[in-house]
């Protein structure tokens, strides 16, 4: 009788990769619910479109590359990419925006680089940046949050807008975000930045209609929702604390210092923490292991770098939010970070050599 031959070790622990990815999607749920509450049904349609396109694109690529499609589709990485991209873009963006973005993420950023595990950039963020650079108009058309929105769109109206770029009543997105007094509503980050650029001081900027108690109306809750999701991931040990902590430290410490020194023109840490994609970035995007640094020290550094870049770009850059750019820039630095944060291997400590003498 002959027995099965297998490689050691003969046991296995911990979650499988596809389960890890499934947990990421699961932990996004609170944030997505909040987003759909404040910003309408659009996010669900975007997610739906993104997932379909992602799986279709992934299947075709894997088929063209003559790899096992079953395995590639089961690992759930395409799902994560699709959902992250879908919740990053404005919920009422036309359908072709998310299609182009997802295609770019999956085909160019992921598969062309060799598929799962091989991409040097975060696919969702690279797709987002492509969209932001190419279609800045559509990509900055965020509606004001529900409590201050001039219009309330139903499911059908939302779908109509996504498909035809205007509501059944004939309003386009630009009109939807314009209040009765003819002022179009920007996101809090954008609003504050514009106000500051025009020489207003922070307290004036905070009087803007879209500002809420902590940061922007809707946005503050959205960020808290993603923070909750992040806590779930940490608790499940799907991610480790180094990147989020580095990320938030890199963003909040400089903003705190700046706020202390120039309280009238530098927004404080609470505003930064609860605006834009901060929490989504800290817990869901920067923590993508494939494109992040690997060692613990390296991850802390990687997170710090992203946080710092976000603060720098938000403060002095051309775009209001900067999570995607910061993540991509930090992705580029990963090989260097990895190289210089390599832990000393057992027996290679200088102390060890000294003792040998």
């Amino acid at each position: 009788m002959s027995f099965k031959v297998a490689a050691a070790p003969h046991g296995h622990s911990q979650k499988k990769t596809n389960q890890v990815m499934a947990w990421v999607v699961f932990a996004l749920i609170p944030g997505v619910l909040i987003q759909s509450y404040f910003f309408g049904w659009g996010v669900w349609f975007q997610i739906l479109i993104a997932i379909s396109v992602a799986y279709l694109a992934e299947s075709i690529c894997v088929w063209a590359r003559e790899r096992s499609a079953r395995q590639a589709l089961r690992d759930n990485t395409a799902l994560v990419t699709a959902v992250l991209l879908a919740i990053s873009i404005p919920p009422l963006a036309p359908w072709w925006i998310i299609v182009i973005g997802t295609l770019f993420s999956i085909v160019v950023v992921k598969q062309v680089y060799g598929g799962m595990g091989q991409n040097i950039f975060n696919p969702a963020m690279a797709g987002y940046v492509l969209l932001l650079i190419s279609f800045p108009v559509q990509m900055t058309h965020w509606l004001p949050a529900a409590p201050i929105a001039p219009y309330d769109l139903g499911v059908w109206q939302t779908l109509h807008t996504i498909i035809f770029e205007y509501t059944p009543a004939g309003y386009d997105v630009e009109q939807l975000r314009t209040t009765v007094d003819g002022i179009s509503m920007a996101t809090p980050l954008d609003g504050v930045k514009t106000a500051l650029d025009q020489g207003q001081i922070l307290s004036e900027a905070y009087q803007l209609p879209m500002m809420g108690a902590l940061a922007g109306i809707g946005w503050q809750w959205l960020n808290l929702g993603f923070l909750l999701g992040g806590a779930i991931l940490l608790q499940q040990r799907v991610i480790r604390w180094h990147i989020p902590v580095g990320f938030l430290a890199g963003l909040l410490i400089p903003s705190l210092l700046a706020h202390v020194f120039a309280p009238s023109i530098m927004p404080g840490p609470i505003f930064h923490a609860l605006s834009g994609a901060t929490m989504l970035g800290a817990f869901f995007i920067a923590t993508d292991p494939v494109s992040a640094a690997t060692s613990d020290r390296g991850r802390l550094l990687f997170g710090l770098l992203i946080g710092l870049l976000i603060w720098v770009i938000r403060t002095w850059g051309g775009y209001p939010d900067a999570v995607a750019f910061a993540v991509l820039l930090a992705n580029l630095c990963v090989p260097i970070i990895d190289r210089y944060t390599r832990p000393t291997v057992y027996g290679h400590h200088s102390g060890a050599k000294h003792d040998a003498e």
Partner: protein
């Protein structure tokens, strides 16, 4: 004749300066936002390449090994400056567009690369053909990339060709489609990198396919180290 054939194949395809040697990427990526620009820089580079190749080949006997690089650079710089002056004088509009990229031709490694690798070792007529073919290869890639980016980013082809070719060229302009929202990325610098990547990938794919097709049944006679004794 066969040398001519080889040089043609090398320059246009097998050893294409842009696709294979990856030389001169700086101007290549910078000016290929439209076909017109690409064509302009391609022609300028072609001219310099041929001129420098011939000159280098002619003087090669008198140039000692140690100072060959400065001499080649000087030859190239002279040609580039002359081109710049001529363009400035006679095709001013295009000069405005390609402006800063013309002096960059001096540092286009493809040119000094050819001077060093080919012209300094071969007769002037061969060197001229080499320069011509390499220049054509380079220009072709420029134009293809320029076309790709212009179509994606602008929906047109040969937009502004009159700047290069004169008024009649206005008819060349083709409007493929009118975009409300062009794919800006294509005409921005990252688009050049991505487009270039795809063109190189395509070339490699074609080569692989060709190799597959002509899996030649060449046999190699095995040398015997020891049989003769």
């Amino acid at each position: 004749m066969s040398e001519f054939k080889t040089l043609t194949k090398q320059g246009l395809w097998e050893n294409n300066p842009a696709l294979v040697q990856l030389l001169g990427l700086c101007p290549l990526l910078a000016v290929t936002a439209s076909v017109t620009n690409a064509l302009g820089l391609g022609l300028a580079t072609l001219f310099v390449l041929v001129g420098s190749n011939i000159t280098v080949s002619l003087v090669r006997q008198w140039v000692p090994q140690e100072i060959r690089i400065p001499v080649f650079v000087m030859v190239i710089a002279t040609f580039v400056t002359i081109i710049q002056l001529l363009m400035n004088a006679y095709v001013y509009q295009l000069y405005q567009t390609l402006g800063i990229f013309i002096p960059l031709i001096v540092t286009n490694c493809a040119i000094i690369g050819r001077a060093e690798a080919y012209a300094s070792k071969n007769k002037w007529n061969y060197a001229a053909i080499d320069g011509l073919m390499m220049g054509l290869g380079f220009a072709a890639v420029l134009v293809v990339l320029g076309g790709l980016r212009e179509i994606l980013g602008n929906g047109t082809l040969f937009d502004g060709a009159e700047l290069l070719l004169g008024e009649w060229a206005k008819q060349l302009r083709i409007e493929l489609f009118s975009l409300d929202y062009p794919l800006l990325l294509a005409i921005l610098p990252p688009g050049a990198f991505i487009g270039m990547g795809f063109i190189i990938a395509l070339k490699n794919r074609i080569d692989a396919k060709r190799e597959e097709l002509q899996a030649s049944e060449k046999t190699v006679t095995r040398a015997r180290v020891t049989a003769e004794s």
